[in-house]
């Protein structure tokens, strides 16, 4: 995090999980690089990642930060409501149960 000591950089590669590819695609679609609408700027994505707080930032993986930030941006812009999000999350949880 911004200018704080963090030790050596350890480069690593991993195969992307399907959900990570989907989060990436979501970002491409919402930012209007492809597709008809621009519902998000990369600056909003960064702002909402910065707003996570240090504890959450360290705990989350790269695409977890992205999906959290994209969700926050969609709530802020009124594209989705908290209620809709809660309903959908319960649906998905029940599907997996």
């Amino acid at each position: 995090m911004g200018g704080l000591p963090a030790g050596p950089v350890e480069p690593s590669e991993h195969e992307y999980a399907e959900w990570e590819r989907r989060v990436d695609a979501l970002m491409v679609l919402l930012s209007g690089i492809k597709g008809p609408q621009k519902l998000l700027t990369v600056d909003e994505l960064r702002k909402n990642i910065e707003a996570l707080g240090p504890e959450a930032y360290d705990r989350m993986s790269y695409y977890e930060r992205w999906v959290t930030s994209i969700t926050q941006t969609m709530l802020q812009r009124g594209v989705i409501t908290t209620e809709e999000l809660a309903r959908k999350m319960r649906e998905v949880e029940e599907r997996g149960a």
Binding site: G3, D43, E44, R46, K47, Q76, R77
Partner: protein, 96 residues
Amino acid sequence: MALEARFRPGDRVRVMNAYPLGHVRTPCYIRGHTGVVERLCGSFANPEELAQMRSGLPARPLYRVRFLQAEVWHDYRGRPDDAVEIEIFQHWLEKA
């Protein structure tokens, strides 16, 4: 539509030492430091405004500014002429 560029390559500039709320692209560690304008990179919409769902227009001049590492980090042990270059928007700079 873009704001006029106030600085030229070679100008000495100081980075504003301010910590406003919001999304700011000027790194904390460089605020308050003095460097030299290396080049004008062009003019771009203000990311601080883009982050808040606004247009960020008029576009603002963005400069690449060169700082001496030894002046930025008090315990720097590399060569004395090592530099770090950072792209900074005009509204964060003042004439030094």
